[in-house]
Symmetry: C2
Subunit: 333 residues, 2 copies
């Protein structure tokens, strides 16, 4: 199971028998709108707070994935989820609604792949037959918590990113049809001293590089093994840094297979500065767009390297730099 220092090889190749992505109006105007199962016009989702709206998005993603597999919540043994809210309340409150035994995780925007890695481990080791894993974020809830309330209208630098309002979920099983999870590389925390919460992509790039290098070293394979290698939400600034760093370290990834979820989700004319971010960025792009492309036969082997900036507003106020992490999961069909 463990290969090298930090990579799990799943011999039974757990299957993603269903997945779902939900978003809101801004995602509906985006570049991959057709890959969302549901797009809400109202960013409140009829709730009285943005935090409660985010919880609804996560519940909907999980329920949609379970429904697509024609299963009931009671058939699923575990729910693994994380989000950006303090004390991951979106996940915990969704777990209350779902009623499925719950493992809360936190890896900021890397939570999507931390969850998929753990879900696959549970299924591969026969600790579960079915696990649903999800991740969510809400643009306005995140801005309020991490930076300024959007009503304040603060200007942002071009390195800033746009938190995706949405949620993605995957239902992982021992048997069935669908893309299969073949391996996962768990990342270390890397911190190169960047402390600007408006420049997360640059802060996270070295963590992505560390995990990508570990993945190929542990498995003894080359980037050409994959049709697509996608970082989570480095966006334009961070993704370029990651590519440059990898090339400098002698691990060049061809441009045509190296992309970033934060660069794919929105259109160029949307005012998202460097690109998308948030737990829902890699979650919706992977569980919607990438898996759909795999099911259509357009992609056969992908590596998703979800990146997370593990800061808090308090650690920033206390002048700490931003510790970052990335978890990589390979999916094949």
């Amino acid at each position: 199971m463990l290969k090298g220092h930090q990579t799990w090889v799943f011999e039974s190749k757990p299957v993603i028998i269903a997945s779902a992505a939900v978003g809101c109006a801004f995602e509906a105007q985006g570049a991959i709108a057709e890959d969302f199962d549901c797009l809400h016009e109202d960013i409140w989702l009829g709730q009285e707070s943005f935090e409660k709206a985010e919880k609804k998005l996560l519940e909907e993603a999980c329920e949609t994935a379970i429904n697509k597999a024609k299963m009931k919540k009671e058939d699923v043994q575990f729910f693994i989820s994380g989000d950006l809210m303090n004390q991951i309340t979106s996940s915990s409150f969704a777990a209350r609604t779902l009623g499925i035994p719950f493992l809360g995780i936190f890896g900021a925007c890397s939570s999507s792949m931390e969850g998929l890695a753990l879900a696959s481990l549970l299924v591969d080791s026969k600790a579960a037959e079915y696990v649903v894993t999800g991740a969510s974020s809400h643009n306005v809830a995140a801005e309020k918590q991490f930076r300024y309330p959007t009503e304040y209208g603060g200007q942002k630098p071009p390195t800033a990113q746009w938190t995706v309002t949405g949620a993605g979920a995957a239902l992982v099983a021992q048997n069935g049809k669908g893309p299969r999870v073949t391996s996962a590389t768990i990342g270390r925390v890397v911190d190169m001293g960047i402390s600007d919460p408006f420049n997360m992509g640059s802060a996270m790039a070295p963590a992505a590089v560390d995990t990508i290098e570990a993945h190929f070293r542990d498995l003894g394979i080359n980037p050409s093994y994959y049709d697509l290698i996608a970082t989570g939400d480095l966006a334009s600034v961070g993704h370029k840094i990651a590519g440059d760093l990898l090339a400098k370290h002698g691990l060049e990834i061809p441009r045509e297979i190296f992309t970033d979820c934060g660069l794919l989700i929105y259109k160029k004319d949307q005012p998202v500065m460097a690109g998308g971010s948030g737990c829902a960025c890699s979650a919706t792009v992977t569980y919607g767009h990438f898996l759909n492309r795999m099911r259509k036969g357009e992609l056969k082997r992908i590596l998703v390297v979800a990146t997370g900036a593990l800061l808090s507003p308090l650690s920033y106020q206390q002048k700490e730099s931003i510790p970052c992490i990335a978890h990589a999961v390979s999916i094949e069909i």
Copy 2:
């Protein structure tokens, strides 16, 4: 591996080859001070913030456990940790210091046993040879974040609890000498409508009962299987409720084997209201006191049911009730 609905049985019985507990001056005056590896006089630990002090406590607990096993950080494949701080910064920043591939978790005060359950799963499934798992809390950092800064001097009701300043860690391995982890029951979120953050014990009691019932149902054993069954931090109010509820449901646990970490850690004359709480409560009592008693031969089979209140200050302000969870881990020697 999976038995019943939500219990993992670890066939290889992963070994806790070393463990550590650290605390501060208030814990030094407590009832189990001799079970701590280190007790700091200064709750700042020489740091410039309480949050940074908490991170130091967690690092020290992990490093002490690794040193006790005469190992190096590089020999440990994964670090699994959680805490109460927003975005679990204590854990993430400790992961930066340790440099070990990191899985961040959040289950509030149930994080200790969520971590031990996952660490044991990784070791049992050969996804790791060595995993260090920890949990921490800091009284002043937690009060500031969840209730009022202590300088405010707010009065507390008798149902309130005292957050432990400390950290506990365990090093789990495939082989070696020490207490062994035999099973784990992952809890569901239970919410009985209590919304008072000064009455966490009552809020968490039904979650503890739900997990304890699931544990015995899944494994088909009786409470008499254990020498000791300890809830995490229900303290005097919640622990009585849990006992009453269990008896009502026909699962009476004899008083002499049923205890609570929040009732054991401090002395009766310390001003802790209903008792101790915080991630470090079950972590230090388990990884210090209980494991020491097992190593001395005083206990042979224990079940630790760590309880977590999954609220955030924001969910409380938004008039939400408190979703709670409990994870149970059985340790045998």
